[in-house]
């Protein structure tokens, strides 16, 4: 067949397909097509047809989609930080797991996704799931939890629940679903939290033993501590999480210690670190076992942030400081 004819027939069939689609799906709603693209950590994410085959990397992205009732769009999860909470366990039960850590580009492409939703910017790297431009060239849209943007123009100056609402809104727009119920639920949980008024200080102990890695002044840990009424001893450090030092911890002698419970750095291991170091063993919180526990997956910004705060507030209220 001569070339011009081929092109023409391709165009014709494409046109037919397009009309077919439009007729089948009815008039596209203005919120899901031709909407303004989202500026996500400096990468343009077009808001076109809702994604159908999504890969989620890290727990925050998986749980965001489950919270919006979009679990059926997930064709693969990777680098999950822990089990999802009971309320989403059924929806999460059958989700295919592509990789325990960051999946490689081939693993990602083999799942034939049209959208990848990652918890960290660094998940999109050449030795990870692939760079965002490379994936875009393959027609795969990518989205990173905006709270995890690293560029100063995009990194939240100090995370608020408004930022999390915004992420919910953006994801809802991309998927063409309504976010009103989820937002209402989030705000109801937030309103239910009673702030502690005892003026207590806290260390947010995320990981590490020789050099503690702690929740610092501008990220999800700070937001959660503010919400429950605890003063973060590392609030001066202008970062989400940061390497800290034991000497400053001991000098501050926090009233309580928040232990992040992760499979690779369990709360038991953290308690052993605190009790095994002769200096930290003398801390009031360590001597009196004043620990609050937060699962790792709930410690990063997302739909579980407000639940983590509510949970911590309950644990804190139950603590008898004598």
């Amino acid at each position: 067949m001569p070339r011009p004819l081929l092109t023409l027939s391709l165009l014709a069939s494409a046109a037919l397909l397009l009309t077919g689609c439009a007729t089948a799906a009815g008039a596209p709603s203005p919120s899901t097509t031709n909407a303004v693209p989202i500026d996500n950590c400096g990468v343009r994410v077009p808001v076109t047809a809702p994604p159908k085959r999504v890969i989620t990397i890290k727990s925050t992205s998986t749980e965001m989609l489950l919270a919006l009732g979009l679990g059926d769009r997930i064709v693969g999860t990777a680098f999950q930080d822990g089990p999802v909470p009971a309320k989403w366990a059924d929806a999460a039960a059958g989700l295919p797991v592509l990789a325990d850590k960051v999946p490689s580009q081939e693993v990602v492409l083999a799942a034939n996704p049209d959208f990848i939703y990652a918890g960290w910017e660094s998940n999109f790297s050449a030795d990870g799931a692939g760079t965002r431009p490379d994936l875009a060239a393959l027609g795969i849209r990518t989205y990173v939890s905006p709270a995890a943007c690293k560029e100063s123009a995009y990194k939240p100056a100090r995370l608020t629940f408004g930022d999390i609402d915004e992420e919910i809104g953006e994801v809802a727009d991309i998927f063409g679903v309504n976010d009103a119920d989820l937002i209402v639920e989030q705000h109801a949980t937030l309103a239910s939290i009673t702030k502690d008024t005892r003026g207590l200080s806290a260390l947010w102990f995320s990981s590490g033993s020789d050099i503690p890695y702690v929740g610092a002044g501008i990220g999800a840990p700070q937001l959660i501590l503010d919400t429950v009424g605890l003063r973060n001893i590392a609030a001066d450090v202008k970062d989400t999480w940061a390497s800290y030092n034991w000497e400053s911890v001991i000098a501050a002698n926090p009233d309580v210690i928040v232990l992040v419970d992760a499979s690779w750095s369990t709360k038991e291991k953290k308690i052993a670190v605190l009790e095994g170091n002769p200096a930290t063993a003398k801390l009031n919180a360590v001597k009196n076992h004043r620990y609050l526990i937060v699962p790792f997956a709930a410690s990063e910004a997302g739909v579980r942030t407000v639940d983590a705060a509510a949970d911590l507030a309950q644990q804190l209220a139950a603590l008898n400081l004598g």
Binding site: D81, D100, K101, S206, S207, G208, S209, D210, I211, Y213, A234, D236, V237, A242, S243, Y244, N245, W246, E247, S248, I250, A251, N253, A262, S263, W264, S265, N277, P278, A279, K282, L283, F296
Partner: protein
């Protein structure tokens, strides 16, 4: 005089740190623990001085001295100005031994595994260097680089397979060299290594001086060349293994400090060994003090500081010597 410098370094370094404690209180606390009088500090702040700062500073001093001695020995025995625990693969071998044991979870074995790793790496380097003829300085370095690369790759492989979540952060800090975890047991390990290997080596400067003029002249001076070579290198491996097990692989000290001291006092080992040890101790104490207080409340891995401070100082010494000669 340099001994006084080390003592002064310890005395002053212990007053630096993120927590605000006056020098008088710091020294009062130390005197209290040495059995002189009550501590001026409440228990927690006292603990900062006695359980965190002092063991860390003493470890830094011992590690600095040990690495400098190991560097002098290796440069003398291999007659190679580029020899150091790093370039000949000892540090990488020690790191591999330590990481393997760390991930198997036995802290007690750590110094022995590090020593074993250092020893195997050293033997591999020397065998490789001599496999096809005479051991020359160039071949030794090439062999050391090959052994280093292999040990480094296996270390990375172990880390890649076993590290999850953000625990890589910890191991990375350790691989770059860090004294953040140094408590009293670390002081013990480093001190024992200095006693069993560092002091005897330092006292045998005459032997190393003999080596400087070649194996034949050493033999005519009545030295059993082969035996001495291996005893000295084993001592260097003991030092490297012990120091790596408490502080990770701190680069630069073993290679550059002996050269810097040599530029100042000449090549005679009777002087070079003790002075390198003392300068190494002071240098690492201050480098670590900078690492833990410069970016308060964060910490830098001390290996970064040793190179950032040490390289320009060494460059200045080099330039000065060229002008003089």
């Amino acid at each position: 005089m340099l001994t006084a410098a080390v003592l002064a370094s310890i005395t002053f370094a212990v007053t630096f740190g993120p927590a605000n404690i006056t020098p008088v209180d710091v020294w009062g606390s130390i005197l209290h623990h040495l059995g002189l009088g009550p501590s001026p500090l409440e228990p927690l702040r006292d603990s900062i001085v006695w359980d965190l700062r002092l063991p860390r500073i003493l470890t830094a001093g011992a590690v600095g001295a040990g690495l400098a001695i190991a560097g002098v020995v290796m440069q003398a025995i291999t007659r190679n100005p580029l020899a150091d625990p790093y370039l000949l693969g000892l540090s990488s071998g020690a790191s591999l031994g330590a990481v393997a044991v760390l991930l198997l979870g036995s802290a007690l074995l750590l110094p022995f595994a590090a020593f074993l790793g250092a020893m195997i790496a050293l033997a591999a380097t020397l065998v490789l260097a001599g496999a096809f003829g005479r051991i020359t300085p160039g071949r030794t370095i090439l062999a050391g680089i090959a052994v280093s690369a292999l040990a480094g790759a296996v270390t990375s492989l172990i880390i890649f397979w076993t590290v999850t979540g953000d625990s890589y952060r910890e191991i990375l800090g350790w691989l770059l060299g860090s004294l953040a975890g140094a408590r009293w047991p670390a002081v013990g390990i480093a001190a024992v290594a200095i006693l069993v290997a560092g002091v005897p080596i330092t006292l045998s400067g005459r032997v190393l001086d003999a080596f400087a003029f070649g194996d034949t002249s050493a033999a005519t001076l009545g030295i059993n060349v082969q035996a001495t070579r291996w005893i000295m290198l084993t001592g260097a491996a003991v030092l490297t293994g012990a120091m790596v097990s408490v502080s990770g692989a701190i680069g630069f000290v073993g290679l550059i400090l002996p050269h810097a001291v040599r530029l100042l006092v000449g090549p005679r080992h009777r002087l070079l060994l003790p002075l390198s040890a003392l300068v190494g101790a002071s240098f690492l104490i201050w480098a670590d003090t900078a690492a833990r207080s410069l970016f308060d409340p964060r910490e830098l891995p001390v290996g970064i500081v040793t190179a950032i401070i040490g390289a320009p100082v060494f460059a200045a010494l080099l330039a000065r010597r060229r002008v003089n000669s």
